[in-house]
Symmetry: C3
Subunit: 404 residues, 3 copies
């Protein structure tokens, strides 16, 4: 049970809020890159949502960020209204939505060689927020230097565009295996805009009991196995987050997933039917849109084994989305139906929620670190920026691994 104040501390994502500032110490993916030419998909889920008066569905909102084409595209991240675009040289930019001159949205801006120009009076900015032009100002030369527009750096990795919205120098963009390995097939998926606070979605990852109950039984992939035996569970803090182990003793079936800070789930993924034997790893990232909405992006990577890609059985694809539709809809229902921000005043936690308790403590520790001017756990500044971070030791599935 959390007090109202503790719940706010963990769930509010705006600039200046405790969790908002903690989240801003990390890179977050915000869209599927227009340069990504590989497998991609998005979830056409028809559940209705309304955000800022705009009526849509979980799927329709995903369209925009699943099919970004480089044109100025409005996007809200952690409560901030922004516009994502690529300048005429192909550099991606993420700037404040409202032109600092008189507030017209940069989503109607015109792309120029090295930036974007506002539709209204032509004030132009580069991807760093520097003002390049003020065509109607006679004294533009000196005025321009006084105007700096909000701008966040954008990087590409694993078919996604990532941004860092925090202060100071950005930390390294961590090249987790799912995003960075090149020896296989990557599928990039947009799972839509969920009308729920990011933290609700995140708790689901350190909650091994739900795999048995919510996904157990008939209907979903591997559901029969997951539902057949309650696992022995363990949660351990590690360098990048929390390793969650669920071992089914009777079946001698060990499974581990990992929670990667700030909001990612690193999972071993079964294939449809659970029968096809080939490793498959995936990551789900939850990027807060505002306090009540979360963008869920997913990447799935199928590695080569002995230099070979698998020949997929009929009806299978490299992306997880279609295969695990039942599981995703189950998660969606369980998570979104708690209300857009679950009132944790009324919860009753048990021993199966120890992972949830550890996650909360970890985030609160991260918040404290930020408030003390330190980097929170999970932020990486040292080492080779190109190093690929192998997470296979903390996310594996005994049934998958046995096969190859």
């Amino acid at each position: 049970m959390l007090s109202t104040e503790e719940n706010k501390t963990l769930t509010n994502v705006g600039a200046g809020t405790p969790a908002g500032e903690w989240l801003r110490r990390f890179w977050h993916p915000i869209a599927i890159s227009d340069k990504w030419t590989g497998v991609k998909t998005h979830w056409n889920y028809e559940s209705p949502i309304t955000i800022d008066g705009e009526v849509g569905t979980v799927g329709s909102w995903a369209d925009r960020l699943a099919n970004f084409k480089g044109e100025p595209t409005p996007v809200k991240i952690m409560g901030e209204d922004l516009v994502l675009f690529r300048d005429g040289m192909g550099t991606p930019g993420l700037i404040g939505k409202f032109c600092p001159h008189r507030g017209a949205s940069m989503e109607f801006g015109r792309i120029i060689e090295n930036g974007i120009a506002c539709c209204y009076h032509g004030w132009a900015f580069d991807v760093s927020g520097n003002c390049l032009e003020m065509p109607a100002e006679p004294e533009a030369k000196s005025f321009k230097d006084k105007v700096k527009h909000k701008a966040y750096p954008v990087e590409e990795m694993g078919g996604l565009l990532w941004t860092y919205m925090g202060p100071g120098d950005a930390p390294l963009l961590p090249r987790f295996d799912v995003f960075a390995r090149e020896d296989g097939v990557r599928a990039v998926e947009n799972f839509g805009l969920w009308p729920a606070n990011y933290f609700q979605v995140c708790e689901n990852t350190v909650d091994q009991a739900h795999t048995n109950i919510l996904h157990g039984g008939t209907g979903g992939e591997r559901s029969d196995i997951w539902g057949s035996e309650l696992p022995q569970t363990k949660w351990e803090l590690m360098e990048y987050g929390i390793k969650c182990t669920a071992n089914r003793i009777a079946m001698n079936y060990n499974r581990a997933t990992s929670y990667i800070l700030p909001t990612m789930a690193r999972l071993p993924q079964p294939w449809p039917g659970g029968k096809f034997k080939w490793p498959r790893i995936s990551a789900n990232w939850r990027t807060p849109v505002d306090d009540n909405h979360t963008l869920v992006l997913s990447v799935c990577f199928t590695p080569e084994v002995d230099g070979q890609l698998p020949e997929l059985p009929e009806g299978m694809t490299f992306h997880v989305g279609d295969a695990l539709l039942v599981h995703r809809e189950q998660d969606y229902q369980a998570i979104v139906s708690q209300g857009s921000i679950f009132n944790r005043n009324i919860e009753r936690l048990g021993t199966s929620d120890e992972g949830v308790i550890l996650l909360r403590k970890t985030i609160l520790d991260g918040i404290k670190a930020v408030q003390n001017g330190e980097d929170p756990l999970g932020v990486r500044r040292k080492g080779d920026p190109k190093e690929i971070i192998d997470l296979s030791k903390v996310a594996y599935d005994g049934l998958n691994e046995a096969t190859v």
Copy 2:
């Protein structure tokens, strides 16, 4: 004219509010029972409404509660989010929407023999809110006894499911003639979710002048007669509410309706055209959904006369809904267009509003009784629970009665 404070006192329906606590001393119908096999219908009114972000119509919201099938069904009553269901043995239950474990909605729950299990981690509850199972908790045995979920009793009567959401022992569920008589044909109708506070709808019942003006003239059943002469009106407090008499002297036509506490109208109903002669009695109940929305349920009963049911003329049915469509739409417009909670600061009451004034006083007296720890007028605890309460003396129509 009411002050803002007085208006709030009468209109707010949440737990802990004055009228909310008063309303909670009575049973309220919340859905058409899935066991009801008789005549039923609902009003497919296409006027748009949005509640809790869910876009629908007056009619579409009625669908869910007109066609309850026993499956877990979300329902909001007096501002409380609840789920209505039938357990595996057929007992109806009404429990809190949010699982007391981690808040997933019980609307996605799985029906079990003697209760319902949450989709997320399987916590199971019986219809009394007792926790039956915690499948992922090793110490479930002792933990379970400490967890009690919100649950309200549900009874069946007259084709409707009724609940009592107040403290202590529930009073008797009053078996008014319309709901309880068996010597005739009962039609059960769902008149939709009206985007107006319950009290606005209720005032309409003790407002005999509107029958002449709003329903008078052409278009509705008996409109020509009702509109032809202003009646002499009288309002009298009685055991279960207010008897409202409207006598048209010139025509020697006496009519009485009664307001049954807390929110019911007991009416004599004309048949289409007013020509067909057979008694017909009905009840409209207004169940508050939240401060701004009211569920209107109606039951119409056509009794046998001398052991015989009428042979209906062509085009007539046993339900009121289709016949009085013009009247209902007129009432809807007059009531809903006042705003979802009418600002009674600006009203100017006349002598024709004496019934309204008496109703307000009666409810305020009821509120005071509750605040003093007493039962308000209309609550019944003594006597034979099976006794049918005959209201024909306080609700009759001279034109109907003359016929049989």
Copy 3:
């Protein structure tokens, strides 16, 4: 940059607010008159808007006020809920929406010879708000005189219905040339309900730089010329508002538009392609609906020259709407995308915004005048009420004028 308080002062339109009281010293058009038999059109813009829970589009909301037929029609002006109608004798009336008896909306009222009667209990009012009937009140005779309903005067001019919602005697309804000249063809247009504060739309008129940038370039009428050279601009306060001059020196092309208080733009209008040579003058009026929505009405007048009307080239019409669709959509995007009330805390004004600064000062001076009990600039009380106010000296287009 404005402080939050200054921004509120200029943008809030409700009764009792500074700008709301200033606006209430002027007449405003609220609908296309049902008596108007000339050219009319409205903008079927499909951009979605929701106002008071009613979901619609910029165009659908325009329908109601573009096609007023004399029937009671709900309309919100400056935050006040009103009903526009014509009584049985043809006199237009604008009265409070909520009946002063028990609040039913007068939009469901019945038109009577000299007024309108509420649907609920028949209280009837004339266009001045006098109570004419209380059919259910025995003492109606004396009660009626105590009840006065909110009512505003309505006048017709130039195909529009105008109202004055201020205190005391209404000033003259200023007969500007566009609305009052009879020697030509008038087209009346409803440009829809814009989900933006009136002041944002108004600033666009004293912003000559945007003509070059937003409308310059390809796509809109005269865009190539407007975009080819930055004009020398000047803003001058005059009797009815602000004269805005934009002279393009290299082309020897002078253009002036004028801002007419409180919210009108008086423009010289190019013909499609800019090629056809004939004078054409227009007015856009922005009537505040509430703080966040503005009704944009437009009138375009094509005068006779030497007693002759032009023969229009193929594909041209007398209304501006269809011809300048590109410009209007550009304005809509630039204005509405600032947010429904632009947060002027973040703006950075330059020398090209001197007109905006002058407009703000002019309105603030008008607000001060009102607060001192004086008429603000632009209010006209003296002189011949029938005099047509010629604005051709303060609104002209060198390219148009050169031709005839």
